[in-house]
């Protein structure tokens, strides 16, 4: 690459946000940029932010689609609160995102899109959005992206629509210059993606290069950034989002369990991608049943589990509500089943594309009767893989439905993932009937320690039996209306779940264990909570963090951990569901709450403020 005459800003980490109209290709632009940064050796975390409407009116705030990427030379755990660099392809994008740019940051706008009509559509009252939004202290790069793209492609014989479609590549080229990034990755991608259309390949590459060159031309007045690669462990890496990681974790579990994987599911945002990815994975032998509704999704999975498959159903909040009765069936039938619930804003249809943690109580208690199941939560896009794997392991080994909670933020967010070796993962072993026990075996006989019954595949000679949703005799599994038997069965089912605390890790404490303040979180808020705690620690402020992945049962030492602290602040994206759950389980402890319900993750800034305030109290 060429030498630079401009000022270069050295940084440990940077946040870039690409934004434009839904049709401007910002998701692709952002993905290409983050993959390039990851290949370059930065640790990354990304988050897409797109409208619920497929085609919201062009040029309006409602139609703005964004993609944020945070990359750095040490580990990054969140996509970042505020952007150092914003790309705004039109006035609506600027309007929607200006408040998310760090004071004094860099904003690249396509000036050609800032005409009177678009300014009005975006809700600007004057023809000077920079002054109107008080962006005078920011470094604004006013690039005529549309016109330069048109100019560059005018002799190629492309139609106007195709020409305009390439303007995101111009913006991308310019951002590559800003960060001095190699473009091979993107070049290869374009060549492969449009292999059938050489003209489009040529056009995109040309525009990409010209965007980069535009940076060279304006460099005298524009500072660029330098971020060193991260010092990361040897190995193979890729970027992955939470949904794909979940799907792959389930596949990994099926391999380790030596079981066929069956998914019964119905599309719902933001869980659909799990269904789509597993539908693609016929190469891995996955059977996917796109059902007529969520009830059929789980019921086919229960049937597959009865037949001996590793059975899974995936959904989001409204779908989990529909599955309630069938989860109860899996509870009483004592069949293994994984239920993945990718949480979104509720109630009802709520905020389909936005994140929230408000299905916790539904997962724990949203069923008739005493109906305990395992509830666990992933806490980063990449550890969706781990937790999907362990959800399946627990389901199979403990003959129970397991609800795995992720959320829209984890599902769509990506991180750099060190590709794991399956050999490092434990075996998954179902309890089967030993040949010597066949003569005396009964369907609901349990292991005296774990309370687990054995799993008999339909088709096994000699072990025919009937199961169902009616209460059963504690041994034979035959229908029983006996009150005392019922009470024993209720207690066995509860004890079976409780026993699992022996097979899950103890709760650890991160940050500064010696502190007055323990921050408590669960699930998808980990990145933000951890970053806030780490940053405070660098500032000399000591805060401890207990972040929960296992919710039912809770880790064995959870009470002891909580008991150690003077002040406990439970932070969650709901009205306090986990806080209330802890109050119920450990009523001898005082809990304070910090809650947010804006469809957005916490920001590190607001968390730090809260923690400091509480420490000073």
């Amino acid at each position: 690459m060429m030498g630079r005459s401009s000022k270069v800003i050295e940084r440990d980490e940077v946040v870039v946000r690409f934004s434009g109209d839904s049709g401007d290709g910002m998701q692709l632009t952002g993905t290409l940029f983050s993959n390039t940064s990851a290949v370059f050796g930065n640790d990354i975390s990304t988050f897409p932010d797109y409208p619920a409407e497929i085609r919201a009116p062009q040029g309006t705030i409602g139609g703005v689609s964004g993609f944020q990427v945070h990359f750095g030379h040490s580990e990054v755990f969140t996509p970042g609160d505020y952007a150092d660099v914003l790309v705004a392809m039109n006035p609506a994008a600027l309007k929607a995102n200006a408040k998310w740019v760090k004071h004094g940051g860099t904003i690249i706008i396509d000036v050609d899109a800032f005409d009177a009509k678009n300014l009005e559509k975006a809700g600007y009252k004057t023809d000077d959005p920079i002054t109107e939004d008080k962006l005078g202290d920011y470094h604004i790069i006013k690039a005529p992206i549309t016109n330069l793209t048109k100019e560059s492609l005018k002799d190629m014989g492309l139609d106007n629509k195709s020409i305009l479609r390439s303007k995101n590549m111009y913006a991308l080229g310019l951002v590559y210059w800003l960060f001095n990034r190699p473009m091979e990755h993107t070049t290869n991608y374009i060549k492969k993606k449009f292999a059938k259309n050489p003209l489009i390949v040529e056009a995109n590459l040309k525009v990409l290069r010209e965007g980069y060159n535009y940076g060279v031309i304006i460099q005298a007045v524009t500072p660029s950034y330098h971020i060193n690669p991260a010092a990361i462990a040897k190995g193979k890496y890729r970027n992955i989002n939470g949904n794909i990681a979940t799907a792959w974790g389930l596949i990994a579990a099926s391999k380790k369990a030596n079981l066929e994987l069956f998914l019964g599911s119905y599309p719902i945002t933001p869980a659909t991608e799990i269904l789509q990815e597993l539908s693609l994975r016929k190469d891995m032998g996955v059977k996917v049943f796109q059902a007529e509704d969520e009830i059929a999704g789980i019921c086919t999975a229960i049937g597959a589990s009865f037949a001996g498959d590793l059975a899974v159903t995936s959904t989001s909040g409204p779908g989990l509500a529909l599955k309630g009765e069938a989860i109860g069936l899996a509870v009483i039938a004592e069949l293994p089943l994984v239920i993945v619930n990718v949480q979104r804003g509720g109630p009802s249809t709520g905020l389909p594309t936005k994140t929230e943690q408000s299905d916790l109580m539904q997962a724990l208690y949203g069923r008739n009767g005493e109906s305990p199941c395992v509830v666990m939560a992933a806490s980063s896009p990449i550890n969706c893989f781990e937790y999907a794997f362990y959800a399946a392991k627990i389901a199979v080994e403990h003959m129970t439905p397991v609800i795995l909670l992720t959320d829209g933020f984890l599902a769509n967010g990506t991180q750099t993932w060190k590709i794991p070796d399956l050999a490092d993962y434990p075996e998954i072993k179902a309890k089967r009937v030993a040949p010597e026990d066949e003569a005396t075996w009964m369907p609901y006989q349990r292991d005296p320690e774990t309370y687990v019954r054995s799993w008999v595949k339909v088709g096994t000679p000699g072990l025919m039996h009937r199961i169902g949703g009616l209460e059963k005799d504690e041994k034979t599994g035959g229908v029983s209306y006996d009150g005392e038997n019922h009470e024993r069965m209720v207690k066995y089912r509860e004890a079976k779940i409780k026993y699992i605390e022996n097979n899950i890790p103890e709760q650890d404490i991160l940050g500064e264990p010696e502190s007055d303040l323990l921050v408590v979180g669960w699930g998808g808020t980990f990145g933000h909570l951890f970053t806030a705690v780490e940053e405070l620690s660098e500032e000399g402020v000591h805060v401890a963090l207990a972040h929960f992945n296992y919710i039912n049962p809770l880790p064995k030492n959870a009470h002891a951990v909580l008991k150690r602290y003077k002040k406990i602040l439970v932070c969650e994206l709901n009205l306090g569901q986990f806080a209330n759950y802890l109050r119920m389980n450990y009523p001898d402890i005082q809990y304070r709450q910090f809650n947010k319900m804006q469809g957005l993750p916490f920001s590190v800034v607001e968390l730090k403020e809260q923690f400091k305030k509480l420490l000073e109290e």
Binding site: A233, N239, K282, D283, A304, G462, R466, G478
Partner: protein
Amino acid sequence: MSEECELKYTDFKSDLSVRWCAGCGDHAILNAVQKAMANLKVEPHNVAVISGIGCSSRFPYYMNTYGFHTIHGRASAVASGVKVANPNLKVWQITGDGDALAIGGNHFIHLIRRNIDINVILFNNQIYGLTKGQYSPTSKRGFISKTSPYGTVEDPFRPGELTLGARGQFFARTIDKEIKLSIEVMEEAARHKGTSIVEVLQNCVIYNDKTHEAITDKKYKADRTIILQHGEKMIFGVDNDKGLVMDGMDIKTVTIGQDGYTLDDILVHDAYTHHGAMHRKLSNMDFPELPVALGVIRSVKDNVYDVSVEQQLVDVQAKTSITTFEEMVNSGDVWEVE
């Protein structure tokens, strides 16, 4: 053990005592299913009997096979999962008119549309038996029950028509007490590849006694029902002298030798044609205008879902370069840090 072996119907009886009311039509249906299974020579451990909720859905407990008494309306879905997970199993679904056509209507039509190889025995007593006598989606307009004390103001589903409307390829009808016919029909249903719907006109002695009596009573049966056989003339009646002919767009009953009708004019049943129009007319025939059709009304070969699922796995796996978990996670954009 081989697929085929000598079996008695008692091999399919579980040791649980049957709990239906004395005189309930379900007893006879249980009997017929057990005998059909014995005739089919399928080993009990390869059979899964899946039911929903209702009196009829208690059925699996009485079968010495694998059985699953699931939740109300969802038997079609659970059975679909069993069959797709292991297509080698013989999957039978037991369901009531409420279970299949009210709460489970959605699953029922989609099961049929997909044509999964499952035999569905639909116990049609035109009432909710288990909840003690409320009208069902097959109760006739004006039917008086506990929840329709002044008579219903809605028209019923006709299960055959619904099946055909959902692209059903196999539909048959029988009567609970006609065990011989039931056995025949059930065997054909089991041999048919794809979803088979067998509607059994079932009597609930307690809450809807004699609901089918007008056609099932010995006195009238021969004149008010017709047993259809593929390739045979549509003839019925105590004296075998009545037949069905087309009259414009409609079917009508004639007496052979009267009004100039001869045996040659009588329609021949073709259960195997994929054209549904005639099957629909036949399945909709009702007393008193026409005899109620029994036997196999439609039996048509078509793509079978569970077979296609397996085939697609084979096809994709034959072409893909990704065969292991390692290859999958290493496909696409992957880089190495040395």
